[in-house]
Every structure is written in structure tokens, then in C-alpha cells.
């Protein structure tokens, strides 16, 4: 047979196969270029961070660090940095716990039950996207003074939880939806109560995903700067501290601070990368 039946191609067979070698090279080149576009600025920050303060302020600059930890130790010993770091960790941890405690049950309810008001709740969660949430800090600053939550870890963590909660609900919703209800039903027929079935069957299965959404909440809080700067004075988080020292801090302090801010986020995104896509897949439906 001279004519072979072509197997159906997948949707985005894209430029890789079935095209000339030239196309392949261009394709690879573009991908590499876009990777560099992301990585090079981070590398440059790393170079500045790992250079001595003199080199950071020198001109012209070398593209390679002299691997000197003076900038980093200057930053870490700078007055207020240690406390700001500690505040950041505390606020992010409280945010993480609160958003999972409130978000995971909601995600479970959305995935397992049909009930009146379900769509209203979903609208409420999705509505949070259409609002610039950091602005919430303004009225809360006034309210907090009245109820004694001003300049507190908990007060800021509550605002950050508002930012993280919609994501926690959506991630856990997609997690629970991915587990067949038959598993739970099987446990019930074998004599488990709803709670036992959840504990013994569902919980172990979703634990990694829950951890991922917890990490995501942590990163949201870790990175947030506006509400943190408005709501805290003594208990400033690291971003708020850096923001307020921008106008007077020396360059090497800024860059070392930036690097300390970026590093955990890099690790965390690596840990949760698998869940990023499932979350948005379900969120668009």
C-alpha cells in the first residue's frame, strides 16, 4: 500500500515533530531563551547577594560572584532583620493553619454534597478574585485598634488568610473531587462512620495535596507586602521591613534581603508544582 493511514495527531503536536530540522532548532532556541529570561535575573540577584558590599556598589560589575558572605551576614545582623524574619515565619504559619482549617472542610463539602446555597458559596469564593484584597488592610487597621489586634501577628495573619483561603478551598475541592466517592462508600459498608471513613481512607490520600495547599498559603503570606506594611509597626514582617528600608538602606542590604525573600519561595514552588495546574484546572469550571 502506497498510502498509509496516519494515526490521529494529538491536539498540540506543536512545532516539534513533523517539521523540518530548522523548525526544531528555532523551537528549542525559543524555549531556551525563555528559560534564560526567567533565570538570568534571579542569577544576577544571587551574584549581588554573594558578593562583598564593596563589589555590590562597585562599577563595572562582574557577572560572577566572589562568593563572599559579608553582604548576607551584614543583612542578617542588621537591626530588626532577625525579628522581621521571625515575624514573617509566625504570620505565615498562622495563615497556613487558619486557611487549611477553614478551607479544607469547605472544599470537602463542595466536592461531596449537593445542597442549596452551594453556588452562592462558590460565587463568594470566586468574587474574592475580582477585588484588590490588600486594600482590606485599611478598614481593618481602624477596627483592629478598637479590638486590640493592632500591630499583632494574629491580626495580619487574618488578612493573609483572606488572601489564601479561596485558594485553599479550590485546591482542596479539586483534591477531594479526584478521589472516587466509592472508596468512602466501601468504607461505610464495612462499618466505618463518615468520620472514620474520612480519617482512614480519604485523609491519607489527600494529605500530600493538603500539605501543598498549606505551603501555597505560606508563600502567599510570606510574600505579601502592602497589608503587612499598613498593619504592623513593631511586628513588621520581612517584606514590610524591606519596603520601609528601601529609601535609606544600602544596596547590599536590599539585595541580600531580596534573596532571603526569594529563597524559600523557590523551594516551596518546587514542592507544590504538581498541584498548581490541577488547582486552576478545576477553578475554571
Amino acid at each position: 500500500m502506497s498510502q498509509q493511514i496516519q494515526p490521529a495527531k494529538v491536539m498540540f503536536d506543536g512545532p516539534v515533530h513533523g517539521r523540518s530540522p530548522l523548525h526544531k532548532y528555532i523551537f528549542t532556541g525559543v524555549v531556551v531563551l525563555l528559560c534564560l529570561w526567567v533565570l538570568v535575573p534571579i542569577y544576577l540577584l544571587a551574584v549581588n547577594t554573594l558578593s562583598s558590599p564593596e563589589d555590590v556598589n562597585a562599577f563595572p560589575k562582574s557577572l560572577f560572584p566572589d562568593l563572599n558572605t559579608d553582604s548576607v551576614s551584614f543583612f542578617l545582623n542588621f537591626a530588626g532583620v532577625g525579628q522581621a524574619l521571625w515575624s514573617s515565619v509566625k504570620v505565615a504559619t498562622v495563615t497556613m493553619v487558619l486557611s487549611i482549617l477553614a478551607g479544607a472542610p469547605a472544599g470537602y463539602a463542595l466536592s461531596r454534597f449537593d445542597f442549596t446555597g452551594k453556588s452562592t458559596f462558590r460565587v463568594l469564593v470566586l468574587m474574592t478574585r475580582a477585588f484588590p484584597l490588600p486594600l482590606l488592610a485599611l478598614p481593618l487597621a481602624v477596627m483592629y485598634i478598637r479590638i486590640g489586634l493592632d500591630d499583632s501577628i494574629l491580626g495580619l495573619a487574618l488578612v493573609h488568610t483572606t488572601l489564601a483561603l479561596p485558594f485553599a478551598v479550590l485546591i482542596t475541592y479539586s483534591l477531594f473531587s479526584g478521589i472516587p466517592i466509592e472508596l468512602e462508600e466501601a468504607a461505610w459498608t464495612l462499618g466505618c462512620s463518615r468520620l472514620q471513613a474520612f480519617q482512614k481512607v480519604i485523609f491519607p490520600l489527600v494529605l500530600p495535596g493538603i500539605a501543598a495547599s498549606a505551603i501555597f498559603a505560606f508563600v502567599i503570606s510570606w510574600n505579601e507586602v502592602f497589608a503587612a506594611a499598613v498593619l504592623t509597626i513593631e511586628n513588621r514582617t520581612l517584606p514590610a521591613f524591606l519596603l520601609q528600608s528601601l529609601s535609606f538602606a544600602p544596596l547590599h542590604l536590599k539585595f541580600a534581603g531580596g534573596a532571603v525573600l526569594v529563597l524559600p519561595a523557590l523551594i516551596f514552588i518546587f514542592l507544590v508544582r504538581k498541584y498548581l495546574f490541577s488547582m486552576w484546572g478545576i477553578a475554571n469550571r
Binding site: 490521529a8 494529538v10 498540540f12 503536536d13 506543536g14 516539534v16 523551537f27 525559543v30 525563555l34 528559560c35 526567567v38 533565570l39 535575573p41 534571579i42 540577584l45 555590590v56 563595572p60 560589575k61 482549617l101 477553614a102 472542610p105 469547605a106 463539602a109 454534597f113 452551594k118 463568594l124 478574585r129 475580582a130 477585588f131 484588590p132 486594600l135 482590606l136 485599611l138 478598614p139 481593618l140 488578612v159 483572606t162 483561603l165 478551598v169 510574600n223 505579601e224 507586602v225 502592602f226 506594611a229 517584606p239 524591606l242 519596603l243 528601601l246 544596596l251 536590599k254 539585595f255 534581603g257 526569594v262 519561595a265 498548581l276 495546574f277 488547582m279 484546572g281 477553578a283 475554571n284
Partner: protein, 282 residues
């Protein structure tokens, strides 16, 4: 087994939380913008805001930044998403690299691009090596507003394209492959399949991504402060100045309502422009 109240009990914490910390503060902020400390209704805070010389500049800068960043970012993310989908090997690694900026805050992104644009920074060093400049140029000085603007645009594109990419890659994963196969059977070219099948099917994701990005663009703050200091006021930095430095929560609240109003207006506009007809949902 099934108890009717169970789902409501499970939703209660999240609902309560969102009512107290999401809905209530937004009514409070409106209240704060329109009433004096003694509780009288007034529009004087809006007048004070609008007559301040920085207001128009801040509003225009914010809108211009959004206009310069978002369309380019959407196009770039769509392109990157199709690239990723065409990959056989290394897809996961490339996706991880491209989504790295997702975890980087706007402040950190501002500092990263400061390392490039500041006077003794890498751009100056690079130009010096090429022999273009003798002495380092103060790119971010107040007389170079255009360059500050460009640096912010680059930092924003660098930082926030990843969130659009994630949403679009997830969205493309939801499109059944049969549609494109059918189109190919009927002789559609690669480009036709993209414009007639992929893009229309991707509308819900495009809508989500677009709304999210536009809202983030109107909240742009720390990047601007890190790169431009006070040289390039935007709405959010004015909110901060009024609240934190000038200690006038009322005018800050008025600013907040302006940001809120344009955010809601644009959300509705995008929802309308990228609406999906009822019968056409997957």
C-alpha cells in the same frame, strides 16, 4: 448516614471568615471614604483626593502600566503554553522554570530588577563593556521617568506572566483532543486549529487569567516603590502614602474605592468580552 446540615457545618468556618474579613471590610472602607469621624456624610475626602496634584498622575500611571503589561503578558503566556504543549521531552523541567516567578513577591521582583537597572547595576556594566557608555547612567533617576516605567513593565512581565501561564496550561489540558482531531480531518491548518478551536475553547481560562492579571495590575505597588521610589506614583502607592505617612485614613479609603471601582468595572468588562455562550460550554 447523610445528614442535611453537614455540608453547611463544613462551609460555616470559611463563610463566616469571608463575611467578616472580606465583605464587611469593604463596606467599612466605603463608610470611611464617605463619612467624617463624627459620622456625617461628606464627599470632601474625594474632593481632597481628586484635587491633589498626584491623583491624576497616579491614575494615569496605573492604567498605562496595566495597558503596557497585561496584553503583552497574555500573548506571551498563550505562546508559552502552546510551546509547552508541543514538547515531548523536558516539559516538566521547562514548566517548573517558567513558573518560578509565581513564588516571587512583587517586592522581590522589584529588587531583582533593581540589581539590573541601578546605577552600578548589570545593565550599566553591560553597556560599559560594549563601550556604549563611559560612566554609569542613572537610569532610575527622577528625570528618566520613561526608563523607570520600562523597568517596571519588564519586572511585571517577568514576574506575573507565570500565573497566566499556569491558568492557560491547566485550561488547555481540559480541552478534549477530539476537537482538534476533527478539525484536522476537515483540513484545518495548524493556525486555523489554534484560532478556531483552541482559542474559543480556552475562553473560560482566558477570562480567569485576564481578570486576575488586571486586578493585580491595578494593585501594583512594591515593584513600583522598589524601582521608582516616589518618582512614579501609582494608585496603590498613594493609598499607602495617605494611610501610612499622611495618616489620613479617609482619603486613603477614597483612593481604595477608586481602585475598587476600576477593578470591578474591568472585571465586568472582561466577563462580558470573553463570555462563553450557554450552549458552548464543555
Amino acid at each position: 448516614m447523610y445528614s442535611k446540615s453537614l455540608p453547611y457545618m463544613l462551609l460555616l468556618p470559611a463563610t463566616l471568615f469571608l463575611c467578616i474579613f472580606f465583605i464587611y471590610p469593604f463596606t467599612l472602607v466605603a463608610w470611611q471614604a464617605f463619612t467624617t469621624d463624627t459620622g456625617e456624610f461628606t464627599s470632601s475626602f474625594f474632593q481632597e483626593m481628586a484635587s491633589h496634584w498626584k491623583f491624576n498622575t497616579a491614575l494615569i500611571n496605573t492604567l498605562l502600566l496595566a495597558l503596557a503589561v497585561v496584553p503583552f503578558q497574555m500573548a506571551l503566556a498563550i505562546y508559552m503554553a502552546t510551546l509547552v504543549n508541543g514538547m515531548k521531552r523536558g516539559r516538566d523541567a521547562v514548566l517548573y522554570i517558567w513558573t518560578i516567578p509565581l513564588g516571587i513577591s512583587d517586592l522581590a521582583a522589584g529588587l531583582i530588577w533593581l540589581a539590573i537597572f541601578e546605577q552600578s547595576g548589570f545593565l550599566n556594566s553591560f553597556l560599559h563593556t560594549l563601550g556604549v557608555v563611559e560612566q554609569p547612567v542613572g537610569f532610575l533617576g527622577y528625570e528618566n521617568k520613561g526608563i523607570i516605567f520600562l523597568a517596571i513593565v519588564l519586572a511585571e512581565i517577568w514576574r506575573a506572566t507565570s500565573i497566566v501561564l499556569v491558568i492557560l496550561v491547566a485550561g488547555m489540558g481540559l480541552i478534549p483532543k477530539e476537537y482538534a482531531e476533527a478539525a484536522e480531518v476537515f483540513g484545518a491548518s495548524r493556525w486555523q486549529r489554534f484560532t478556531r478551536v483552541t482559542l474559543p475553547m480556552l475562553k473560560p481560562s482566558l477570562q480567569t487569567a485576564m481578570i486576575l492579571r488586571v486586578i493585580l495590575a491595578f494593585e501594583v505597588f512594591a515593584v513600583v516603590v522598589a524601582l521608582g521610589g516616589t518618582n512614579l506614583p501609582v494608585l496603590m502607592s498613594e493609598v499607602f502614602t495617605w494611610q501610612y505617612e499622611l495618616r489620613d485614613a479617609h482619603v486613603a479609603a477614597a483612593y481604595a474605592l477608586v481602585i475598587l471601582a476600576i477593578s470591578i468595572a474591568f472585571t465586568l468588562l472582561i466577563m462580558w468580552a470573553l463570555r462563553v455562550p450557554k450552549g458552548a460550554r464543555v
